[in-house]
């Protein structure tokens, strides 16, 4: 299992416009994924869970992956939220 803490740099936040793309990216990996923010966790393969998490710009989130492609998954998802769109 791998976890990484990162800050959301996406201008409109992870919960808003970029959410759909984040979900599509997450679905490319077979590992079990989890995004935690503010004491809550959500499955990033579920757009509704991700949107309800409400991680706006500047939020510090933890991305966790467990499975065969866990390393690639965490790196790709961290890279995604690090973009500023």
């Amino acid at each position: 299992m791998i976890s990484k803490e990162t800050m959301v740099k996406l201008e409109s936040g992870l919960h808003a416009r970029p959410a759909a793309k984040f979900v599509q990216l997450s679905k490319r990996f077979t590992s079990k994924l989890l995004v935690s923010y503010n004491g809550k966790s959500a499955d990033p393969k579920s757009i509704l869970g991700l949107m309800a998490l409400g991680a706006g710009k500047g939020s510090v989130i933890v991305i966790t992956a467990e499975g065969e492609d866990e390393a690639q998954a965490v790196d790709a998802l961290v890279d995604f939220v690090q973009q500023s769109e």
């Binding site: 201008e11 409109s12 919960h15 808003a16 416009r17 959410a19 759909a20 793309k21 979900v23 599509q24 499955d43 393969k45 579920s46 757009i47 509704l48 869970g49 949107m51 309800a52 409400g54 706006g56 710009k57 500047g58």
Partner: protein, 571 residues
């Protein structure tokens, strides 16, 4: 019945056609308990797949229509419909465990999502709540096997005017826009989805038309003016002919003006000026760009403070300012700091009731007295300045002391950002609005302390002539043609020129074809106006001779009455 309705112009142009009313779809949840749970789940799944096909088709259609940003919404819709953990499983669970029928289960799951989004304090998520409702209706309609009623496509084969309370993204996407001439909605403002889409597709639209659905019936003949917001219902034949003439004229003019897009604003004898746009919201930037604005001469920052109880945070302001600056690239953008008071009051600011609000506590006077309010805005501006060509100007300056105090607060804001290690703009142009006669009279003095002037004609006229610009009883006193006003404008422009600083104008007069030749003759180099006037004025400038305008302006300054001046200029 013949009548007129007034709304808000949301997308310019004249449109006429037959009303097609789109009612909001109302779902009624059946009370039945499913006998066969598996069959009920199957019903849900096939309805869901139908909805997925619909949104995919809408996505493709929007991409084809060239509305990429609107299309993005449907990508999210598809994800929601395919969301196993957040949508599909909870619905199946409710059908299986609670013996709910599919409609009730879908409504329950999506309604609770709607509530979560609604509770988020963020305009974007509020809109997504509407999306979730939209999806709920789509899946429910498919379960029940009913048609959502917004496809009355065959009712009138052409010349359709869409009439609705409001339009959801999926409604607008399903419309066959080939046959639609215009859109009218009862609710919504200039930044609503309807307004945005109408502008993208260049369809005339009026929003916020109160009383619309009460008075308009299917098939009524409607004429709408997307600029003034006027809607004529069942006008008589003569009126229709007049509108038709105006419409033809409008289209002809628009096509002619298109040719001036991308050109320089230069007179016959080679004097080049800049034509810029006045904007009042972030989405106005697109209209400014579409009309080839050479910059933004005035951002009315008040839009951030309107229709809300709490004041906008620094972060929220920063994001709005940044978007404007980024969209304008390296073109200059002049932000006017908060101009509250006068005729503009905001729920977030408690301002005293005054006998003479225009002569009272307003604009820079409020900001200097409330440094925290002012510094929050200044910090947001300085931070956003990293992303574009930021300029700041202070409104309602009447004394050097006010200017000095405003500049000190600006410096403090910058220092506080530096101390906190926040990236921000270090060097920038700072200017003032010249709209109080005192500032115009002392223009040579002010010119030594600022980087630019922007003449605000609306207030300068009302303060010079002591005539309230909104009072119809003194409307004949209020005139820009008054020699006292014109002398102040001329001397302000020449004071700027002498001091080697920029001078622009951002009042209504800057886009007035009668006055532009005069101001050009005075030596004005920057004209900022509503976006829709830019190409018209560029065409005018291209037909003028600067030296002639200069001679004409000297003659005008010899005249002693507004009526004489007006007569000469209108010749």
């Amino acid at each position: 019945m013949k009548m007129e309705i007034k709304g808000i112009g949301a997308s310019p142009g004249l449109a006429m056609g037959y009303a097609v009313i789109y009612q909001k779809f109302e779902i009624s949840i059946p009370d039945t308990i499913p006998e066969d749970v598996d069959a009920e789940i199957k019903k849900f799944q096939s309805a869901r797949h139908e909805s997925i096909c619909e949104v995919t088709a809408l996505f493709d259609k929007m991409m084809k229509d060239g509305a990429g940003e609107a299309a993005e919404v449907f990508m999210a819709h598809k994800e929601i419909l395919e969301d196993e953990a957040g949508f599909v499983m909870p619905v199946i669970e409710r059908i299986r465990e609670k013996s709910e029928n599919a409609v009730r289960a879908v409504a329950h799951v999506l309604n609770s999502i709607v509530d979560i989004f609604r509770s988020m304090d963020n305009e974007y998520m509020q809109a997504r709540a509407a999306d979730a409702e939209d999806l709920r209706d789509s899946v429910v309609a498919n379960i029940l096997g009913i048609q959502k009623p917004f496809m009355k496509d065959n009712l009138y084969s052409e010349k359709k005017i869409i009439v609705s309370y409001d339009l959801a993204p999926s409604d607008t996407a399903k419309l066959n826009f080939d046959k639609v001439e215009g859109i009218v909605t009862q609710s919504g403002g200039t930044t609503s989805h309807t307004a945005l889409l109408a502008r993208t597709l260049e369809l005339p639209a009026v929003v916020g038309a109160v009383g619309l659905l009460e008075h308009v019936k299917d098939g009524d003949f409607i004429v709408l003016d997307g600029e003034t917001g006027k809607i004529a219902v069942n006008p008589d034949k003569q009126e229709v002919e007049e509108y038709q003439k105006r419409k033809d004229e409008y289209i002809k003019q628009k096509n002619e003006l298109r040719e001036y897009s991308g050109r320089r604003s230069i007179t016959l004898d080679g004097r080049q000026v800049r034509l810029e746009a006045n904007i009042g919201t972030v989405s106005d930037v697109q209209t400014a760009i579409d009309n080839d604005a050479e910059g933004i001469g005035l951002v009315r920052t008040e839009f951030l403070y309107m229709e809300r109880k709490e004041l906008p945070s620094e972060q929220e302001q920063f994001e709005a300012y940044k978007r404007i600056l980024e969209e304008m690239g390296d073109k200059p953008v002049i932000f006017r700091t908060l101009d509250a008071g006068g005729d503009k009051s905001f729920p977030g600011l408690t301002l005293p009731q005054e006998e003479n609000p225009f002569l009272g506590y307003r604009a820079i006077r409020i900001c200097l007295n409330t440094p925290s309010l002012f510094k929050t805005q200044l910090k947001a501006l300085l931070r956003a300045g990293v992303y574009g060509n930021l300029k700041i100007m202070f409104p309602m300056i009447s004394s050097l002391d006010e200017l000095r105090r405003a500049k000190i607060l600006l410096e403090q804001a910058a220092e506080e950002l530096s101390a906190a290690g926040v990236p921000h703009r270090k060097k920038l142009s700072v200017g003032i609005m010249v709209e109080v006669p005192a500032a115009a009279i002392l223009a040579d003095c002010f010119a030594e302390h600022v980087d630019f002037f922007s003449i605000g004609t609306n207030d300068l006229v009302q303060y010079t002539l002591a005539a309230d610009r909104g009072n119809p009883n003194v409307a004949d006193v209020y005139t820009t043609f008054h020699p006292a006003v014109l002398k102040l404008i001329a001397s302000t422009i020449s004071a700027a020129e002498k001091a080697g600083i920029e001078c622009g104008m951002c009042g209504e007069a800057a886009g007035d074809p009668t006055l532009v030749p005069l101001f050009l003759g005075f030596g004005l180099k920057k004209f900022s106006m509503s976006s829709s006037s830019i190409l018209k004025i560029r065409k005018l400038i291209s037909s003028l001779n600067y030296e002639e305008c200069k001679r004409m302006s000297e003659r005008v300054l010899q005249l002693n009455t507004a009526s004489d001046i007006e007569r000469i200029l209108k010749k």
